[in-house]
């Protein structure tokens, strides 16, 4: 009898379930599957949005990106440095901030609001404000530095410091991660700390042996999220520097956008998108593999 497949009841549930899920199924097919397949095909053509009969050119786009497109390599290295700076800086700052917020201090919600405010600010508004703040002559930061007799750097106006400045602005906006770390910290059972104290552990030892290991699930989540976002970063560089000066802030996302919507080379831009996909996929798999050894789930 069990081999009859689904029972009548199960079949009815399935029908209802499919009905409820249907909006997602339609959207998935139309807005995910179809574009993914199409962009894959585009990447092997010279589609340029004007000619409606693109020709197949095989791997030429991919080869040209790596061999002829100087800006492509630059955007790749820029993006990797940017991602590195952002991930390291943001993780350290966010864990530190969450650690501080975890002490039940008075005014906790005020501090929390302050640290989260950048997340609520529209990227356009905050990017423009930062451009003004980082203005080498008239901006706030160099003005404050001047008051203590330090000559401030050129921030986004110099090829040497521009990428760092953009990463700094991105770290400023990492408030979401702070909340996630805070939630993770609250889950650490008190008795572990007490047991460690009895054994004579100091603050640093407690942090290293108890807090950080138990925070590794949140670290994994935030690292993956940061990775995916930083490799595709677009809005800040588009508004603040448009890739300059001297292409020092030309990030992968910006270069892709330029190729697709300014140069209309959508075939090549699709190839760029797939290369990015592969990079993200590989890095994510690496992170997950590493996490098997490092991340602690059940105590």
């Amino acid at each position: 009898m069990a081999r009859m497949g689904l029972t009548v009841q199960q079949r009815r549930s399935l029908r209802w379930a499919l009905l409820f899920i249907s909006p997602w199924i339609v959207g998935f097919l139309a807005f995910t599957v179809y574009p993914v397949v199409t962009s894959f095909i585009f990447s092997f053509t010279n589609f340029n949005a004007i000619r409606f009969n693109p020709d197949f050119i095989g791997f030429r786009n991919y080869v040209q990106l790596f061999t002829r497109d100087r800006l492509f390599i630059k955007s790749l290295t820029n993006t990797l440095s940017y991602a590195g700076m952002l991930i390291v800086g943001a993780t350290i700052l966010d864990i530190f901030a969450a650690f501080l917020l975890n002490f039940k201090v008075r005014g906790l919600s005020l501090y929390r609001t302050a640290l989260f405010l950048p997340v609520m600010t529209p990227a356009v508004a905050s990017s423009l404000t930062w451009v003004w703040i980082l203005n080498p002559k008239r901006g706030l930061i160099n003005g404050l530095l001047a008051r203590i007799g330090v000559e401030g750097p050129y921030w986004v106006a110099s090829p040497r410091t521009a990428l760092l400045s953009i990463a700094m602005v991105a770290i400023w906006g990492s408030g979401r991660a702070i909340l996630i770390y805070l939630a993770g910290l609250k889950d650490v059972p008190q008795h572990l700390y007490e047991a460690a104290e009895i054994d004579g552990a100091g603050a640093a030892a407690k942090m290293w042996h108890i807090t950080l290991p138990l925070l590794t699930p949140q670290m994994l989540f935030n690292l993956v999220t940061l990775l995916i976002h930083s490799l595709q970063a677009f809005t800040e560089v588009f508004i603040m520097t448009n890739g300059g000066p001297n292409n020092s802030t030309l990030l992968y996302g910006l270069h892709l956008y330029n190729r697709a919507f300014k140069d209309m080379q959508m075939g090549m831009a699709s190839a760029m998108a797939w290369i990015l996909f592969i990079i993200i996929f590989v890095l994510t798999v690496v992170l997950f593999r590493l996490s098997k050894n490092l991340v602690v789930y059940d105590r």
Binding site: G27, P35, V36, L128, L140
Partner: protein
């Protein structure tokens, strides 16, 4: 014997006073650090406000002042007339409101299917849905543009609003987690009484889902209000622009008019700040919930 007792008591008293001092010192250090961090994090926002209230002369003054010496409000009406501020605002509101309605409705419906109905393969499909979150937007961006341009939707807000009515993996995850916490007995009782899934959804689960609705609505409102790349790609005529691209356009055309720019940016930001103040709890819970994924 007595000497020993006194010395023991003395030692204990000293150590508790020491602990208290250390305790206070530690607390102070934490407060100071948090204060410094908070100032750094909110400084740009206050700088935006302060610049918008400055006279042109004071904006460009070297060294810059943090609190304006003379406060003038004229940047605000000037910003509103120089750029099509109210037009942009209306477009932004239209985009945010319609997208949010779509997001709430579609994701509630879909999440119900993934949480309250038992069907074979449900959890595996759900896992697949969640994994689609990792697909980089860059991969779908170009073909979607081509698709929408063939549908003649480019130049309007349709490419941004309509997809919201078809579910979103992140919100599905959020709502499903929430719905799993609702007691199953209610559903089962209704099913025994002969109700079909549709009635259970509308009569029982939906009314209980207010927190989930609020969370999704707030997140979608915030995201659409702040969205830049979407409007940048799909909007052509400046009369259709949202605030994000409108203000950015103004920047590219009138780069040095910082007073007006900061005033416009401030007006663009303040609604979101107000929203946050009224809905802090929901935002914070919504984010921390996603971190407990494991």
């Amino acid at each position: 014997m007595s000497t020993g007792a006194i010395s023991v008591r003395g030692r204990r008293m000293r150590s508790s006073a020491h602990y208290r001092l250390e305790h206070i010192g530690g607390r102070l250090a934490i407060h100071v650090t948090l204060l410094i961090l908070s100032i750094i994090f909110t400084l740009p926002f206050f700088w935006m406000l302060s610049s918008s209230l400055k006279t042109d002369a004071e904006i460009f003054q070297v060294p810059p002042t943090i609190i304006p010496r003379t406060i003038q409000f004229s940047n605000f009406p000037a910003a509103v007339t120089t750029i099509n501020f109210f037009g942009y605002l209306l477009n932004t509101i239209r985009y945010s409101v319609f997208a949010t309605i779509g997001a709430v409705i579609s994701n509630l419906v879909v999440s119900y299917g993934f949480s309250r109905i038992k069907w074979p393969g449900r959890d595996k499909v759900f896992f697949f849905v969640v994994s689609t979150m990792m697909l980089p937007g860059a991969v779908t961006m170009i073909p979607l543009y081509v698709l929408f341009s063939r549908l003649n939707w480019v130049g309007s807000l349709k490419p941004l609003i309509i997809p919201a009515y078809f579910g979103n993996a992140y919100y599905i995850f959020l709502i499903r987690q929430f719905m799993m916490t609702l007691p199953v007995e209610l559903d089962d009782a209704a099913r025994i009484d002969g109700c079909n899934e549709g009635t259970i959804f509308t009569r029982i689960v939906l009314p209980l889902s207010k927190p989930a609705i609020t969370t999704v609505a707030l997140f979608e409102l915030l995201w659409t209000w702040n969205n830049f790349l979407g409007p940048l790609i799909y909007l052509r005529d400046t009369t259709t622009f949202t605030l994000s691209v409108g203000i950015q356009l103004f920047f590219t055309q009138h780069g040095a008019e910082w007073g007006l720019l900061m005033a416009a940016s401030a007006m663009f930001t303040v609604p979101m700040v107000i929203l946050f103040f009224f809905a802090q709890r929901t935002f914070i819970e919504g984010i921390t919930l996603t971190g407990i994924k494991g």
